[in-house]
């Protein structure tokens, strides 16, 4: 039947699709590694369709109402939107045949179990896949019921799905967690045969992956017969990803079989050979605007990827300024209004757009066959990441994708060069599999208690089968359960307020259950691991002109909603500051509750740069290749002439950083002294390094004043003459960069770090210590009556080894603080520091020096900032006289 269907469409099944089918027949779980466009999703469902078709008779044999076109979910005789009410009225035909055989009649009296569960990171993707599945199911005439379940699914339908599950349910990790926490879970999942995990490479890099892994562990208990199929883009370590799909046992790492789809045409990637002067710094790629515009004009449909929202804003604005041909160019990024994003996606799917400027918001998602060119502006950041983006063009596996990289500055030329080499070699640099986070475990433990009561020993054994948690210690597990129960505090005062309890305390054979229904309700409202930055709604109002007072008084309310913006960005603004948002320069007028009021500004350039750095730092792999490229001047011939000249000059006046050492330059400039180093470890790690270095320089009486970091380098300035101090032996660079800075200095800094407090807040929310959404009336976070910063301070002082602080510190190793990377770097360069004392700034230092004043100067805000504000007051007072 399937071969007929394929043949009917002029296709033949691809090798990997047949391989996957064979794995299913062999009762094996499998990981399919395939580039985009390889028919991955259909491959994932083939075993399901084959199995179900063997169990249901093709609907041709039974009389059927005509298929209602385009309806969301039901196929072949079953109404798409059967409600509970209709079900009650359904003909009570007793069904003598085995459950799965009875399909076409429309009677749903006998509750049947689910056959296949499909998990996607995006709900839009789940909805899209449901639509795509309907075609083969309908054309093959199969009576198979497919439904989606997302946050948008109506309550009545959700309730029905629990009682009368479809054959195939398409959903997200969060909805799976919710279903597992219900009493119906054993019934609902008992019959489950397959689970299909889409975009697995993207899911496993975050805490959502942790949550999903714990859900899988539960499913393996409820449905031991279940087999998994993971669908993934190419990754660096497929073997470790394959472990995610099968239960881990007794420390043996079990793994699913790996199927690799071959035959993808190699992409054609080139760097824009610009006729313009390459900028020293910045991320705008303004110099190449004409060339970018011509590329869009010369192709049918172009996706233009940038790294940050503000870059997208800027580029979009500039392209329209020069759009004499009136090309349909659109903007797409995560903080735009959802309705607006959907409009762009629909226009794109309908082929009405010539270009879309977008951020990682379009990295995943719905396939568009018609994209014929991908332009990547700025740093590629990682080889795998770049390949996935390039794969967004031409979703036909046998045609080569075309991509053009546009570096925005000289360092990015180096990064683009090595990224192109990496793509040619098909080298991957996806991050290693995560170690499961304790805050996610806490959420899962509470969810488990919301369903059937559990035994500690059993749950511990179950959790160990999840690959990210295979190494979880019993102590960490018990501490987490204790945290969920009564907070896990050394001071045992909350036993009477416990959220979960054993019938008999401290008896291993006694089960844990929730103490009251409120706990269950709160869990359900707060499930999930995506903790959004606190966002404010941006509304466009008419400006008041002049320097407003900043109060929220007379300003007209309402105004068109432009989108959302991070609260911390707005916190750094003063009324009257201009910034780019929604493709235009706006002026900050006022803040009220969760609304930011802005007006249209006449300025051409925004006063406050909103380049907050990309979410992803330069990958370790690309960084290493950049260092190697620098170290090998024979390889420079692959670089544009301007860049070669720049590097040659650097070699002449200082030196070029070596592949393994750390180059440190010191030089005076104006009335200050500078230290610039080139670790190439990404902005986040450099920022942390800057914090710790300035603390040490403070103690060494270098009197540092500030620092600025970019992806490649770090510049610190101060009043002390660093060159002189190094010459005199008063400043020892080896000691300054010694890995021991990750001891006490780090701890002291973490105590106050705003980044650490943000990390802690995320853990507090995910673990369920504090709620995002409340039972009863909805309150916003602004109305929450306590601050996690205060809790962090108190907890750190009184119970520094509390499980939540352990979770936050584990996050700090990789997240906003990137400490692990810093520590690897410090170990690498120990005893390998090369110092150059210069009389002035070197060519290589220019880019990072240019960031000074262009970007927020880092350094935790402290008394100096307050003193500065107080100083203004004095000045003001003096001016008045």
């Amino acid at each position: 039947m399937f071969l007929r269907w394929f043949a009917g469409r002029g296709w033949s099944p691809r090798a990997h699709q047949l391989d996957l089918l064979q794995k299913a027949r062999d009762d094996r779980s499998a990981l399919l590694i395939a580039p985009t466009g390889a028919g991955k999703t259909l491959a994932g469902f083939l075993p399901t369709l084959v199995e179900l078709s063997a169990e249901v008779s093709p609907v041709r044999s039974s009389p059927l109402p005509p298929r209602s076109g385009g309806e969301g979910s039901g196929v072949g005789g079953l109404s798409a939107h059967t409600t509970a009410g209709e079900l009650a009225e359904a003909p009570p035909t007793p069904d003598p045949s085995p459950p799965r055989a009875m399909r076409a009649g429309g009677g749903e009296k006998t509750p049947r179990g689910l056959h296949t569960l499909y998990i996607s990171p995006l709900k839009a993707l789940a909805v899209d896949i449901a639509r795509n599945l309907e075609t083969p199911i309908a054309e093959m005439g199969l009576a198979i019921k497919v439904e989606t379940r997302t946050g948008d699914t109506p309550v009545s339908r959700r309730a029905r799905q629990r009682r009368y599950p479809p054959d195939i349910l398409l959903t997200t990790p969060e909805q799976l967690a919710l279903l597992l926490s219900s009493d119906d879970a054993p019934f609902l999942f008992g019959s489950l045969r397959r689970i299909v995990l889409d975009e697995l490479h993207a899911l496993v890099t975050s805490k959502r992956g942790d949550l999903l892994s714990l859900g899988l562990a539960r499913l393996w208990q409820l449905a031991p017969q279940m087999r998994a199929i993971g669908l993934s883009a190419t990754v660096a370590e497929p073997e470790s990803l394959a472990r995610f799909l099968v239960p881990q046992r007794d420390g043996n790492s079990e793994a699913a079989d790996i199927v690799v789809a071959g035959g993808a045409a190699a992409p054609i990637v080139e760097m824009l050979d610009t006729k313009e002067r390459l900028p020293w710094a910045g991320h705008s790629a303004r110099h190449a605007l004409n060339e970018i515009y011509d590329l869009i004009k010369g192709n049918k449909t172009t996706l233009v990827f940038v790294n940050t929202r503000s870059q997208a804003e800027m580029l979009f604005q500039e392209l329209w300024r020069m759009n004499d041909d009136n090309l349909a160019i659109a903007l797409h990024h995560g903080s735009l209004d959802v309705a607006q994003r959907r409009k762009v996606e629909d226009a794109m799917a309908a082929g009405r757009l010539r270009g879309v400027v977008c951020t990682s918001s379009l990295d995943l998602g719905v396939d568009w066959g018609d994209v014929d060119l991908v332009i990547n502006i700025g740093a590629p950041k990682g080889a795998s990441r770049l390949m996935q983006r390039i794969g967004r063009a031409n979703h036909r596996i046998d045609e080569a994708s075309r991509a053009v990289l546009v570096p925005a500055n000289r360092f990015e030329v180096l990064e683009c060069r090595v990224a192109i080499d990496a793509v040619a070699e098909n080298a991957q640099d996806t991050p290693p599999l995560r170690t499961g986070a304790l805050d996610v475990l806490a959420q899962h433990v509470l969810g488990r208690a919301c369903g059937e009561p559990f035994l500690s020993d059993e749950l511990y054994a179950e959790v160990l089968t999840a690959a990210p948690y295979a190494g979880l210690t019993r102590t960490d597990f018990d501490d987490t359960v204790d945290f969920v129960a009564s907070g896990g505090y050394a001071l045992k005062t909350y036993e009477r307020f416990a959220r979960i309890k054993q019938d008999k305390t401290n008896k291993p054979e006694s089960r844990w259950r929730v103490t009251n229904p409120r706990v269950r309700q709160s869990y359900r409202l707060n499930v999930g691991t995506i903790v959004e930055e606190s966002m404010l709604k941006v509304r466009l109002v008419r400006g008041r002109g002049g320097g407003g007072s900043g109060s929220t008084g007379a300003l007209g309310r309402g105004g068109r909603m432009l989108g959302q913006i991070e609260e911390y960005f707005i916190e750094g603004l003063v009324v009257g500051d201009t910034f780019v948002f929604g493709g235009e320069v706006v002026r900050y007028e006022a803040l009220a509750e969760d609304q930011v009021y802005v007006s249209r500004a006449s300025d051409k350039d925004a006063k406050v740069p909103s380049y907050m750095g990309g979410k992803f730092p330069l990958s370790t792999y690309l960084a290493e290749r950049v260092r190697k490229l620098l170290d090998d001047d024979k390889a420079w011939k692959a670089l544009p002439e301007q860049v070669r000249d720049w590097l040659s000059l650097q070699r002449h006046v200082s030196r070029v950083p070596g592949a393994r050492d750390l180059l440190v330059e010191t030089f005076p400039r104006a009335d200050k002294h500078y230290l610039v180093c080139y670790p190439f470890e990404g902005r986040l790690a450099h920022q942390t390094l800057g914090m710790l270095l300035t603390r040490r320089m403070e103690r060494a009486r270098v009197r540092p004043l500030g620092f600025v970091a970019n992806e490649y380098a770090l510049a610190v300035w101060g009043l002390g003459d660093m060159s002189f101090m190094i010459r005199q032996g008063k400043l020892d660079l080896g000691a300054l960069f010694d890995p021991d800075m990750l001891g006490d200095d780090l701890e002291a800094w973490l105590a106050e770090s705003a980044l650490m407090k943000r990390t802690f807040r995320t853990c507090a929310v995910i673990s369920g210590l504090i709620a995002r959404r409340f039972t009863g009336e909805e309150k916003t976070r602004r109305q929450v009556l306590f601050s996690t910063d205060l809790i962090y301070d108190v907890l750190r002082k009184h119970q520094p080894d509390h499980v939540l602080l352990r979770a936050a510190r584990a996050d700090a190793a990789t997240g906003l603080l990137d400490i692990r990377r810093l520590s690897d770097m410090l170990a690498r360069i120990k005893g390998r520091i090369t110092h150059r004392e210069l009389t002035r700034v070197s060519p290589l230092a220019v880019p990072v020096m240019l960031e000074i004043g262009r970007e927020a100067v880092y350094g935790e805000a402290s008394d100096e900032l307050l003193a500065e504000a107080a100083e203004e007051l004095v000045k003001e007072a003096m001016d008045r006289t």
């Binding site: 907070g487 505090y489 001071l491 005062t493 909350y494 307020f497 959220r499 409120r518 706990v519 709160s522 007072s549 900043g550 109060s551 916190e571 750094g572 603004l573 003063v574 009324v575 406050v608 990750l742 001891g743 780090l746 701890e747 002291a748 105590a751 210590l769 504090i770 709620a771 306590f786 601050s787 205060l790 809790i791 301070d793 108190v794 907890l795 750190r796 002082k797 009184h798 119970q799 520094p800 080894d801 509390h802 352990r806 510190r809 584990a810 700090a812 400490i819 927020a856 100067v857 805000a861 402290s862 008394d863 900032l865 307050l866 003193a867 500065e868 504000a869 107080a870 007051l873 003001e876």
Partner: protein, 241 residues
């Protein structure tokens, strides 16, 4: 990261700095605004603290939000430090000393003893606040609605009257420069009246740009005395938000 379990309590540099207070003038009376958020009237030997919110942690715990139960210990510890510094003859707790009506029942025996030790050898006045309108008599000290000393009236909720020192609003100020910003507790004062910052470890804050402050000070012509790390900073309210 668990290898770094050693936490420093306070930076050594900070411990050696003499705590610098700022001077506040209210209705002709000069008071020292302490870095801890307390106010000291030297001639009277009077120390004032506001909004301790003791047992706020356990108050949330009762409703299933299990905040760390160390807030009372932390608050009393800071109170002990500022009392040791000034050795006042009299202490006024300016209302909302306890987070809810039954909070005092939940004080641990240790915390009760610590509180009694602070009350020994000095007068102690609990002013009632909206969170703790009916304090029992067994807490030591006396309970009052408001207290007048010289030209100053101490009460919990500010009315805006001249000569008033109040709490209740938990003033905080946010200051921004070049894309960086920070937010701290502060005293709000215009020379005629003052609103004190909250002293409690879990007490949050309300921006001094909120309409509630405009009602009390009539205009933006008041100052924020912001609690920095090592000293207080006097910043015009119009400069903060």
């Amino acid at each position: 990261m668990t290898a770094h379990a050693q936490f420093l309590d306070d930076e050594p540099a900070r411990a050696t700095v003499t705590v610098a207070g700022a001077t506040l003038v209210v209705a002709g009376v000069t008071l020292v605004a302490d870095l801890s958020g307390a106010l000291f009237w030297e001639e009277q030997g009077l120390l004032v603290v506001s909004d301790l919110h003791l047992e706020k942690g356990s108050s949330f715990a009762r409703r299933g939000v299990l905040l760390p139960p160390f807030d009372t210990v932390a608050t009393l510890g800071r109170l002990a430090a500022v009392i040791a510094r000034h050795d006042p003859r009299m202490v006024i707790a300016l209302g909302d000393s306890f987070h809810d009506r039954t909070a005092h029942d939940r004080l641990s025996a240790t915390d009760r003893e610590a509180l009694a030790a602070l009350q020994a050898r000095r007068d102690w006045i609990w002013i009632s606040g909206n969170h703790d309108p009916a304090l029992p008599s067994d807490l030591g000290g006396v309970v009052a609605e408001e207290v007048a000393i010289g030209p100053i009236m101490f009460r919990h909720e500010p009315s805006g009257a001249p000569g008033e020192i109040a709490g209740h609003l938990h003033p905080k100020a946010r200051v921004s420069t070049r894309g960086r910003s920070m937010e701290r507790r502060c005293f709000a004062c215009d020379g005629e009246r003052a609103v004190m910052p909250a002293f409690g470890a879990y007490a949050g804050g309300l921006s001094i740009r909120d309409a509630a402050f405009a009602r009390i000070f009539q205009s933006l012509g008041f100052m924020a005395h912001v609690l920095g790390d090592v000293r207080l900073h006097t910043i015009a309210a119009s400069r903060c938000y």
